[in-house]
Symmetry: C2
Subunit: 621 residues, 2 copies
Amino acid sequence: MDNPNLIVTCVVGDGEAETGPTATAWHAIKYIDPAESGAVLPILHVNGFKISERTIFGCMDNKELASLFTGYGYQVRIVENLEDIDADLHNSMMWAVGEIHKIQKAARSGKPIMKPRWPMLVLRTPKGWSGPKELHGQFIEGSFHSHQVPLPNAKKDQEERQALQKWLSSYGPHELFTEKGDIIDEVKAVIPSNDAKKLGQRAESYKGYVPPNLPDWRTFCVDKGAQESAMKAIGSFIDRVFTQNPHSVRIFSPDELESNKLDTALAHTGRNFQWDQFSNAKGGRVIEVLSEHLCQGFLQGYTLTGRVGMFPSYESFLGIVHTMMVQYAKFNKMAQETTWHKPVSSINYIETSTWARQEHNGFSHQNPSFIGAVLKLKPRAARVYLPPDANTFLTTVHHCLKSTNYINLMVGSKQPTPVYLTPEEAESHCRAGASIWRFCSTDDGLDPDVVLVGIGVEVMFEVISAAALLRKRCPQLRVRVVNVTDLMILENQGLHPHALSLEAFDSLFGADRPIHFNYHGYASELKGLLFGRPRLDRVSVAGYMEEGSTTTPFDMMLSNQVSRYHVAQAAVIGASRRNEMVQVQQQELFTELNHNIVETRKYILANRSDPDDTYDTPSFD
Amino acid sequence: MDNPNLIVTCVVGDGEAETGPTATAWHAIKYIDPAESGAVLPILHVNGFKISERTIFGCMDNKELASLFTGYGYQVRIVENLEDIDADLHNSMMWAVGEIHKIQKAARSGKPIMKPRWPMLVLRTPKGWSGPKELHGQFIEGSFHSHQVPLPNAKKDQEERQALQKWLSSYGPHELFTEKGDIIDEVKAVIPSNDAKKLGQRAESYKGYVPPNLPDWRTFCVDKGAQESAMKAIGSFIDRVFTQNPHSVRIFSPDELESNKLDTALAHTGRNFQWDQFSNAKGGRVIEVLSEHLCQGFLQGYTLTGRVGMFPSYESFLGIVHTMMVQYAKFNKMAQETTWHKPVSSINYIETSTWARQEHNGFSHQNPSFIGAVLKLKPRAARVYLPPDANTFLTTVHHCLKSTNYINLMVGSKQPTPVYLTPEEAESHCRAGASIWRFCSTDDGLDPDVVLVGIGVEVMFEVISAAALLRKRCPQLRVRVVNVTDLMILENQGLHPHALSLEAFDSLFGADRPIHFNYHGYASELKGLLFGRPRLDRVSVAGYMEEGSTTTPFDMMLSNQVSRYHVAQAAVIGASRRNEMVQVQQQELFTELNHNIVETRKYILANRSDPDDTYDTPSFD
């Protein structure tokens, strides 16, 4: 994409072709505008066998294959002349390049072909072709026995050793090497003298990225005290990023831009979908296809060739590409351990429509597990942010888009939520990763009985609401409220570059006060991060408990025990340990909060909506 | 499957059809033997739009669709007569049922059709058809605006309310209901009087499963002291399960049975693959297709209709179906909360070819994260087992196959490993979930200086080797060795049905002694489980650290710091706190172990193999 003069061949094994992600990837041509982008020439290599069974494609005849791939939109050419496979493949590739050029020429001369039929090749050869034909009376060539190591005992078994010798000799080494063991000049002459033409030195595959030209995120900020959707705020920012970087930034999304309230990103560009007569031949920075696998594949390719991509998604669906993300992280870890791989942009996930706001879609759309997937990566790559409002989300996106080599996961709400921080405060908060929020703490957070911590926009709102509620009901209870926006600061000192030192941890959370964490994800993840910190018996953690339905936002807080009432209960229990004035009221306060829980659930059941004032910005007057 | 007289229709939306798993699922007919199984009639419902963009299939014309699905192997019929869609669909379904019966009749009369062309329907109707045509000057019908709630403000907006009224009136309620609000008799007459013929009461969709007839697992056990592959042992057991349950147990696997050394399961049955001339029309209890998504889909359907399935896989690939597994668990949670859903078999995953033995495939094949996915399910469903040898694996598989409503994950090795326990000991150990292994503990584990815990077959072997090594080098150091086979026992009391009580935890691990866990998965998972247990500052945890390559088994142990030398180092540090005889030697012992690590790595680099005696059974004489 955005490499109009590049043609890439891609060989797909017939085993791999059985996978779902590959099965839908054939549709990818429908998202390539030949005016602005290059082309991929796919070669389906059908050798008939997987590890031990015949493949689906190996059992399909040429008519079936031609019909299938014609249906996908290709011109299909079968390459199977085993008598002279080199010539057959050569001619086929020349034909394919010609077809690609025709399509591109038409598009670039203002006469785009509707539904251009890109070429693809099916290469049929026997599995293990040219290897040993038989061993111990069993077929090797043309069977699954040639998978991996066809002659495993060549060291000890004479028959196998002879077969190995015969096989290797068949390549004619005496014709390819000189007596000294050097490669003969005729072979060497094939290597281009121009480095940039050597396959292994193509700039496209190693040249580091150019940082995007980013606008000032502060100009998109919202006034402190307002209510704003973080997604709307970053939508406008991304729109500007697109106009300032017309050929090097893209969004890949499973058709959720509109639903995720990111549609402002489309203000000056469109959806790139060539099969639709209304968007054909118009380019577009956004690809929306209902395959997270395809989005991830596009994102990886675009990033690895030096550009910048974003992948916004419903929270629950990113888990679909969990293993692809891990494989990518493994690749990039190895790449960065070499000397010649240059940095690439980070890959950037934006999770919204989270479990905390699933009033339409319900239980099936509640799954915050992708956070845990990122947490398990090497600390060098893993970055998870849960900005608490629109302004902090803006500085987070800005930070992520200019970072390199990370897997960035940003989690936030698409609904309007209170804006707590000015741009300057937001920047300072995000740089620190966490801070004490004085406006909702007792005496600016000094000498607390208990420390309440929010991680995630909706659950942080409940923490603030709990603090407001306690100030009214139990003014003697001294709370410190902390917001954590960068999850990795909680990891033990030395285990992650962002991890708080022991001193910094104590300065935020106190050295010996009870701490209650109200966390967006699964409690066990947070417990895994905190394990190893001193004095953990003072810590309690609440998080998503796999409880949910098609219900109101506040009912989700109640069902998963992260509501303001549950937070206040934890605060009362914690503070009672130290503050006798709280302790003498503990039982009454606790049961009153229980009563609030029961009554609110009744109200929600009866009215099918939350009490009217549930989402008013909490007041501390 | 195994329901020869059942035909199931399945409506696939054109949005969903863009996903990878659906794209390859069309190949599923190739794994259905019409002699033994029923049929699925797929209906691709093309309405043209997703949430906000046109669909791929909506932009394909009938020729493209016919070509694609013909290539997949179907007879395609387009249903699109909007003038009389009911008649068109009726006639098309009659035709489809006729075609299905032809195929089945041929197969059941001994004249199976090779590559039978199963029917499928493409139903083309406008999105939001028969709903409001327009609103506020915008198209609703035939556009993405009809997705979800087309008239969101009907309560307040008069125009929307009128549109809603017009829309609902168009169904002619006065013709369908009596004046009292009851349904008219003509409609009621459609409902079958025979309950079993009512759509919602089909026995296939709710009738509980019949427990499988399981052989005695003890007869497949191996002698204590031998070395055996756990997969070979259970392969023979599964073979017997198949013969005793010829129509109600199946295996779904991504072509890894042979590689995972489970091929004995094929002794009396075959791979069910109809497109292959060599296996056509022969049935078979095993389906091997290189799509984990398809395996998972088959497994779910088979289980939910009362039968029993197993899904063996390379460890690293089960993460591919992580979100499908979670969705299934959500569905079953809700089902079990109703009164009328009966229990179904558990779904049973067998993970092998783990990161600990990936000498051929390397870093890309190292990913134990599926354990964490299961840990996050509701405690009622989550079960994770890591049996330490062949006999414990046998009793575990036996237990899982007769359990209901769980997500069972079993993790083990396909390589020969020592058998530590007799069948009786294995049963007792697995029932307890963990026990003190006296043969490798000092004085039967009494009064230890340090407790060493293994969870997972290879890392437990390293724990035992560390104990043997310490007995020689530092006989004064008193160790207790514990093996944990049931991961869930470590969860805090009350949080999981298997969780150890405080007393049981202390009896196994001691109340105040240092504990070192050598764990197969990511350390953070175990930390999340242990969090909340008292006195955690005495606990250290080692596990897979995302370090790996194509290297030797023992190098993997070294790279991830779970080798015997690392365990011994942890033991020396821990024991020094209490035992002065160890403490005075600590520095010497620790550096000697460091030296062992460095020298072994050198040896492996030089020889490309582990030292010869690495995998000898440790001796405690």
